[in-house]
């Protein structure tokens, strides 16, 4: 069983936090990963900053800019992960765009993921049709390619779910990442559609900020993913964000776990 599958088995209602690597610096990122794992995160998603993150709202866009200004690079992130692996075995998943992977060298990138202990990748600008761009390398090195399903996926849901690896990232709302007051998509209906063809865990992300929202989403699926709300805390506290983020993640883990049937 993969580490990701094992994590969702251990946490039937999973909380999955996202942070941008190198925001405000990689030393803080390393501490944040450990703190979030200790607070009960099932999986940790790590952004590799990109100059032009077209799927991101303003909060994560700013985090990307901060990280790049600080001099964060893909190689430095790999080096940091090698270090953090001495402290935690929480599954780590990269979230980045195809250009940083392609330009690094797709094969070299995934070889390095396997070497340092990255368990999966989420690539917002690789849709089902273009996954051949990375799938060979993912399989060769045993790194999952996490698929996204969106409210507009409709007749594409089953096609995507059938070939999903790791877990399915269900995008809760139209638009880019960022906190939303309410989520109007019929998440339950999409999960039902996925369940017809796949037993892979489904985690819901985009727009979730409060414990109530996370619990609501987790009740309809296998977990909740939160990015912008955490990145906002980091934006506010900078290098001192570790304890505030730990407190936030602890509360979110509890809210999500309480929905256990």
């Amino acid at each position: 069983m993969s580490k990701i599958a094992a994590a969702f088995q251990k946490h039937p209602k999973a909380f999955v936090p996202f942070i941008t690597s190198g925001d405000p610096d990689l030393a803080t990122t390393q501490k944040l990963i450990v703190a979030m794992a200790e607070a009960g995160a099932a999986v940790v998603e790590l952004g590799i900053p990109f100059s032009d993150p077209v799927a991101e709202g303003e909060v994560i866009q700013r985090a990307n800019i901060r990280a790049l200004k600080e001099g964060c690079t893909t190689d430095k992130i790999f080096a940091m992960i090698k270090e953090v692996r001495k402290e935690t075995d929480v599954p780590l998943v990269f979230l980045t765009y195809i250009n940083p992977i392609f330009t690094y060298g797709t094969d070299k990138f995934y070889a390095k993921c396997a070497e340092v202990g990255v368990d999966g990748t989420i690539i917002p600008d690789i849709p089902f049709e273009e996954k051949g761009e990375v799938l060979g390398a993912c399989k060769k090195y045993g790194v999952d390619l996490i698929s996204l399903i969106a409210p507009t996926s409709k007749d594409r849901i089953q096609m995507i779910a059938r070939e999903a690896m790791g877990y399915i990232y269900l995008v809760s709302s139209l638009g880019v990442t960022g906190v939303r007051r309410e989520i109007t998509t019929d998440i339950g209906a999409i999960v039902k559609e996925i369940r017809k063809v796949s037993a892979k865990p489904v985690a819901v992300g985009f727009g979730i900020a409060t414990p109530e929202q996370a619990a609501q989403m987790a009740a309809l699926s296998d977990g909740a993913i939160v990015g912008s709300a955490i990145v906002k805390i980091i934006e506010q506290h900078g290098k001192d964000a570790v304890e505030p983020v730990r407190r936030y993640v602890t509360a979110m883990v509890q809210a999500v776990a309480a929905t256990k049937k």
């Binding site: 990109f50 100059s51 032009d52 077209v54 799927a55 709202g57 866009q61 790049l68 690079t73 893909t74 190689d75 765009y97 195809i98 250009n99 940083p100 992977i101 392609f102 330009t103 690094y104 917002p124 600008d125 690789i126 849709p127 089902f128 049709e129 273009e130 051949g132 761009e133 698929s147 996204l148 399903i149 969106a150 409210p151 507009t152 996926s153 409709k154 007749d155 594409r156 995507i160 995008v171 139209l174 638009g175 880019v176």
Partner: protein, 394 residues
Amino acid sequence: MTKGRYGIHGGQYLPETLMNAVLELEQAYEKYKKDPEFLAELRRLYREYANRPSLLYYAEKMTKDLGGAKIYLKREDLNHTGAHKINNVLGQCLLAQRMGKKRVIAETGAGQHGVATATVAALMGMECVVYMGKEDTIRQALNVFRMELLGAKVVAVESGTGTLKDAVNEALRVWTARCEDTYYVLGSVMGPHPYPEMVRDFQKVIGEEVKAQLQEKEGRLPDAVLACVGGGSNAMGIFYDFIPDKSVKLIGVEAAGRGVDTAETAATIARGSEGIFHGMKSYFLQDKYGQIAPVYSISAGLDYPGIGPEHAYLHDIGRAQYVAATDQEAVEAFQYLSRMEGIIPAVESAHAVAYAMKLAPTMKKEQIIVINISGRGDKDVAAIARYLGRDLHE
């Protein structure tokens, strides 16, 4: 290989949220590109609204002055709204109308594509929002007001370098939020399939006209066809019909900015490397980690870090040649064409004129060059004055 490929280039690298929207667009385009009624309506609009066919003008004074090849100018600057952009926008907005969309969005660099989109949206009674880099709203202030006058809303994009690339980013983000009721009118032969193919098809009328017009005037094909290249729509438009005619040299002129060897350049073919961005695999200006470079050119319309995938392919197979002209060369060509022929070209088109001024004297008198004057230069007058040290208030 997946759909929409030009050699290894092209493709459909988009967030899942947008996939059904582009697939719907692809289906609609496949249907209407063969629909006689749609094509007849588009031809009528080209003729009666956009002022097509545009003239092919023999630049006699320029020819004599340069003392080499005979120079013809394809006058896309005489189109309604002052540039080739209207050709594509009429096609796409007509398609949007057939698809039942009542709201269009567009990105713009120099503002010509935004103005064309605002114009056709007014004509067809559609709501229109144009995304434009903050920096570009300053250097092309006249076009911002022009769009507003036409009833469009202009959103200044402050992220990144505040130029064309950032306007595309923002248009993509906004499209993700409203893909169900909004049609994205992409302005160049770039982005995910089917845009590169569709925009080329709506622009290829330029080359088709040149071929027929030159046949009538000279009874032969040209020896070289020149056009400026940012994303590459006016170049692809004038090149496409000549691709099978191997004797015709196709030359794209990129913006070198302050020089291809400086960091302040937008010459993608000269300085870029293979990448995947804005929905397509092509050449991009980027660093070794795939971070897109902050590009620069005096021309807002060429100030883009990538190039359309079909150009990347024509470069790979050697069918087209890509060269570059600097800000300084473009400004000199801008002044030269104004004084020599009484035609003020867009600063974008002036890049093509600049290279023609080098090329023509090396060619024989019986040879023929066609330069695509893709737009008119009224919008650039204040910026050129500033470049030359004159502070003009519009």
